[in-house]
Amino acid sequence: MARPGAVIEVDRNTPPVLFHFGEGVRLEKLPLGARIVYPPDPLDPIAHPERAIKRALAKPLDDDPLKSLLRRGMKLTIAFDDLSLPLPPMAAPDVRQLVMEEVIDMAAEAGVEDIHLIAALGLHRRMTADEIRHIVGDRIFSTFWPDRLYQHDGEDPEANVYIGKTSAGEDVTLHRRAAESDLVIYVNLTLVPMDGGHKSMATGLATYRGIREHHNVKTLMSSLSYMNPPDSALHHSCIRQGQLIEDTVRVFHIETTVNNRAFPSIANFMQKRETDWTAQDQAMFLGMKQFTDIAPPAFKRSVFHAMRAPYGLTGVHAGQVDAVHEKTLEAVRNQISVRVEGQTDIVTIGVPYLGPYNVNAPMNPVLVVCMGLGYLFNFYKNKPVLRKGGVAILTHPCRYEFDAVQHPSYIDFYDEVLADTTDPQEIETKYELRFAEDPWFRQLYRKSHAYHGAHPFYAWYWAAHAMDHAGDIIIVGGDRDVVHRLGFKCATTLEDAFEMAEQTVGRYPSVTHLRMPPILLADVE
């Protein structure tokens, strides 16, 4: 059995601990008495994924076997998660490819001819052909691309339909093809508890009109945290929307989970606890450190982004959405949950080079905030690891760098909006609509590979809870101008950051380091 997660108290014998630092790493000595929270070791993967998939499709949860749902002459649509999952991208073959190949074979056997595959990317960027090929595999790609394998376009008035309002008055929209299909099969990959379930359809195939109902500051401020769906207003809203969709169209959900083996063997030291490092790991670390210290950012990035994760499939469930998602969440929690006792004055987090929105692109400052204070900070259940008014310390170089193709609206968000204010509420009321309806961003989202005009706002709202909760936020090693623009403080070394934090939380603060990725979910008592 895999070793569960652990909380280790720093004593004289504790080796320095790894901090992710963008396209680089830092090894930091934490003060005596500090706690380090480690994720569980990777669970053992399912030995025969294909068999598991077949089994899941044959014996779905609370639903009929898939075979019985397929019939000749039907209109079948397969929607699948985009490349924001998993991170880093999975080494081929992608689980989604395995599932979709199985589904398509089954459909072909049943004589279904009208099959469309849609990348359910919501307001994310369109993927390149190559990126899609990586997800669906060569076989599907060469058969279906580009006429029957294409990407959702939330700004195409022709391709989307309005479904109605939920009981709470939220608008619901859906991709037209999906709405008009006899059966929609959603192929999902759930890496973190936020993903999957009703959220898949409710955001993946929706338009700005539907997504803005829950992607807003008010909802996010009452999602504590959005990594634990029962406590998340975001998910409650998605469930309401999803139920309306399920009433409109027959959806068959297939959800997969993977373990947390996020790094290939070359970066094994990132996967392992420092106490477990072998001589080889030490050497790899030293080599990597030397390389990242001197290499130019663009070169480092190309090396890091070429990394593929050797994830192993830990579960595949199919059938009715609620039943499936419950099983999925259980599998995810098994992999990432760690019990942590009590809150702490200071939380330290190393922000890695990659987040959901910068695959094959630099992590721009707004995304650093989204990743560090959005995703990583919110990996908790019950209460944040950080006490209210405590200090969050992140490590990231925070360079003024943007991918002009993928993140044009982020550039303007940084240059115009953040120059004016960093308050999420104010930003939402003053700027969101203007960006969302900007014809240029709409064009870039539809025709190029850009995130939607509203997307930088969501990235910023994602961190709204953390910015409200923390008394102070310090970024170690960041570009000073950039960090100030983001509204935070900047420190050169971790020691300085602790020194600065003491001004807020007092002398001899308690410190907890969340050693991720690999991802962990802190179950705080």
Binding site: R133, F402, A404, V405, I411, D412, L418, W440, S448, H449
Partner: protein
């Protein structure tokens, strides 16, 4: 005595739009209200009739502020109406261009004060001769023709003796053996000769080459205009030089003192029985007390020097530190002139008076330097960072040494500029080029100052003032207070520290107080950088007849037609063919660089030949791909924002570019704007011929295209905007009301600076620069090549 002499008299003052003439009129009006009438000799200029010039160029001057305040506006205008009259005359014409009424008016004058002159030391020879020499002669002739015998007071200069040593007496000029008529003819007739010379082929060729280097890409008309401007300047420079050399040959420091000396000869010869007094002031500087301390108009002689000293531009200066520098405050000169006017010579022998300080209150050159140093140490000028500028210590080398040093430095800077302007780096060198330009201007100014004024600091003579002192002795003590003109009455220290130097600094508008510092970096406040363009957009919101025209390459996108070509060609060929293709491109590069520099149109024409034989549909597909791979990655976010602002404001937006349709059209489609770009001819097989369908839209063609577009669509160009980065877009920028130079190259930067155009620096989002070649590892590339 003075007041009495003027009581009820009609007087004429010439040169009243000038500093001294204006001061004389003001003093008369204020201190001698008993005067009968003051005629002001004013010429109608091309822009304004004489009466309007009186209002705007004389009475509106700060000199009259005191009188206005003392009398009140109403009494003042009553006084003006009662006492002042315009006598329209033109010293440049024989007979002064007088009307009959004018002649009558002239006849009535009992005192004539002739203070009109072209006082700049570096005026063209013909202008100086006409105004200073012939003007004075014509004045005397006109008086004689009118049959009147007024007392003529001719204001000359103390330096009419040329470069003398020792005591200069107050006596009629001795004959240098020159015929003033001949000299006047020689100098006046120089212009046609020099004009003629300026059209000699080798000169015109040189000027044309110079203009080409400056403005080449802007197109033929722009080059022609520049050539003509350069020729005009060449003619002026030549005339100045000819004048100076001529004066030097005759033993004078400059054309001013030479023509003034000749003028004295002329009027002494011509005056006949007209009583004649000549007042020769030395260097006139700001007034000591009247009408207010520090009254000064225009920079005269010492001011540029003093400022250059305070600004640290003149690190050293030549001259004799112990020589007398004869400076005299303006109000003392005015009083001297009035006192002389009140004392006509008893016979028809002319009297000469020196308005100079040298004998009564000597001032040495070194004392001026010391006074300046003390003043600027206490009240330093500030550089652009707000720091105090230290004062130099002058060592007084010889003029030759100094001038050689400065000239050498100037040559170095010019050479550096030549190199920088030819670097194919575009906007990156603009900053360096601007710096060099500033340095060149500084040195040119220094060289100029040394040439012009160096002589005066080497004059080793004393101007005798016995005649002036005699009059002073006759002035009763109550009038002495009212009309002081004895230089012994004041103290130089007071004059410099409290009157003159503050005046010079005030008039130069130099920075003397510490400004509020720049905002610290990292400040999150919005930079007001483009605020004026933004506000212009806001002002014209909702107007469909406003156009915003954008150049593309270099203005909206950091790329050029070569890079697109490179990308598209590499994209279409297998990896193993890359090296030979690159080698071929490199071979051609120097030729293209040369052509690009000379003329954008020639370059484009030549370069587009490379497209010969390529399939149009394929290129269109590649162009569409280049949009994501090249264009969008290298786009300036600020440019995109600006386009959207214009669209939000309801303006039309047009991309006007010499780039090919295959690469620009996708961008225009995405932006949803109109585009005017280059199209290549296509043959029957759908292949490009490499020839353009119409002349490339570069240089002047841009201007015509834009005008054409404007008339077709009812655009008001004067209210429109243009954004461009290079000199070849000049035709387009010149046409619109709000031109914006975006990341200008060195040459456009200079032009924009001269014309006060807005300069903006737009940047690519950092971290997006890639070589203009497709990624050979990408599956798309491999796939495409396999196909």
């Amino acid at each position: 005595m003075i007041v009495e002499a003027f009581r009820g008299k009609t007087i004429l003052v010439t040169g009243t739009t000038g500093f001294l003439g204006k001061s004389i009129v003001e003093k008369c009006l204020r201190s001698i209200p008993e005067v009968g009438r003051i005629n002001l000799a004013i010429r109608s200029s091309t822009r304004r009739p004489a009466a309007e010039r009186l209002e705007r160029e004389v009475l509106a001057s700060p000199a009259f502020k005191r009188l206005r305040e003392e009398l009140g506006e109403e009494t003042f205008s009553k006084l003006v109406k009662e006492k002042l009259a315009v006598l329209e005359l033109d010293l440049g014409r024989d007979g002064l261009g007088l009307s009959d009424a004018g002649r009558e008016q002239l006849r009535e004058c009992e005192i004539v004060i002739h203070s009109a002159a072209a006082v700049e030391f570096d005026n063209p020879a013909d202008l100086s001769a006409q105004t200073n020499l012939l003007g004075a002669a014509r004045m005397v002739e006109a008086l004689k023709a009118a049959g009147s015998r007024p007392h003529l007071v001719h204001v000359s200069t103390a330096y009419v003796g040329g470069m003398l040593r020792g005591l200069v007496r107050e006596q009629a000029p001795h004959d240098p053996g020159l015929n003033w008529r001949h000299e006047a003819a020689v100098l006046s007739n120089l212009r046609p000769v020099v004009e003629e010379e300026s059209r000699r082929p080798e000169i015109l060729k040189r000027l044309r080459r110079e203009a080409g280097a400056k403005m080449g890409p802007a197109g033929t008309p722009a080059v022609a205009r520049t050539t003509e401007r350069l020729r005009d300047r060449w003619v002026k420079d030549k005339l100045i030089e000819r004048g100076r050399v001529h004066a030097n040959a005759m033993g004078f420091a400059d054309i001013y003192s030479f023509t003034k000396a000749m003028a004295e000869h002329a009027i002494v010869e011509l005056h006949g029985d007209i009583p004649l007094s000549i007042v020769r002031p030395s260097i006139i500087e700001s007034a000591l007390a009247e009408p207010f301390p520090g009254w000064l108009e225009g920079f005269r002689m010492a001011e540029p020097l003093i400022l250059a000293f305070g600004r640290g531009i003149l690190q050293d200066f030549s001259g004799l530190p112990d020589a007398l520098l004869d400076i005299i405050p303006a109000d003392f000169v005015v009083n001297t002139v009035l006192a002389v006017a009140a004392n006509p010579p008893p016979d028809d022998k002319p009297r000469v008076y020196h308005a100079a300080s040298g004998t009564r209150n000597p001032l040495r050159f070194r004392e001026v330097e010391d006074a300046s140093r003390r003043y600027f140490t206490k009240n330093p000028l500030r550089d652009k960072y707000g720091q105090a500028i230290g004062t130099p210590t002058w060592t007084y080398p010889t003029r030759g040494q100094l001038s050689a040093q400065a000239t050498t430095a100037l040559r170095f800077v010019e050479a550096a500029q030549w190199v920088v302007e030819r670097l194919p780096l575009g906007a990156d060198v603009a900053k360096v080029s601007d710096d060099l330009n500033g340095e060149r201007e500084r040195l040119e100014r220094a060289v100029n100052l040394i040439q012009l004024y160096g002589v005066y600091t080497e004059v080793d003579c004393i101007f005798d003032t016995r005649h002036v002192t005699e009059i002073w002795d006759k002035v009763p003590s109550e009038e002495r207070k009212q009309f002081p003109f004895d230089p012994a009455l004041y103290d130089w220290d007071h004059y410099f520290q409290d009157v003159h130097l503050p005046t010079v600094v005030r008039m130069s508008r130099a920075e003397t107080v510490v400004r509020k510092g720049k905002q610290p970096t990292g400040s999150t406040a919005v930079k007001p950088e483009s605020s004026s363009v933004r506000s212009a957009i806001e002002r014209r919101t909702g107007r469909a007849d406003v156009l915003a025209v954008f150049d593309v390459d270099g203005t909206l996108v950091e790329t050029n037609i070569v890079e697109y070509f490179l990308w598209m060609r590499l994209r279409a060929q297998p990896l193993e063919d890359w090296p030979s293709f690159m080698a071929q491109m490199l071979r051609e590069a120097p030729r293209w660089l040369y052509l690009e520099r000379r003329s954008r149109a020639d370059f484009q024409r030549t370069f587009y030949r490379e497209y010969k034989g390529l399939d149009y549909e394929v290129m269109k597909g590649l162009g569409r791909e280049a949009l994501d791979a090249v264009t969008l990655r290298r786009i300036y976010p600020e440019g995109m924002r600006r386009i959207r602002e214009h669209k939000r404001a309801g303006h039309r937006v047009l991309l006007l570019t010499g780039a090919l349709d295959v690469v620009v059209q996708p961008l225009a489609d995405l932006l949803e704007v109109e585009v005017d770009c280059a199209h290549l001819l296509i043959d029957a097989d759908g292949r490009l011929t490499g020839d353009l369908q119409s002349p490339p839209p570069a240089g002047e063609a841009r201007g015509t295209l834009l005008e054409e577009y404007a008339t077709r669509n009812g655009i008001v160009l004067a209210e429109s905007f243009a954004y461009a980065d290079s000199l070849s877009d000049l035709g387009m920028l010149e046409l619109v009301g709000t031109p914006v130079a975006v990341n200008p190259d060195a040459r456009l930067s200079q032009v924009a600076g001269q014309r006060g155009w807005r300069i903006e620096r737009w940047r690519m989002a950092p971290g997006n620069w890639r070589l203009p070649m497709p990624d050979p590892r990408s599956p798309e590339y491999r796939e495409a090549v396999r196909r």
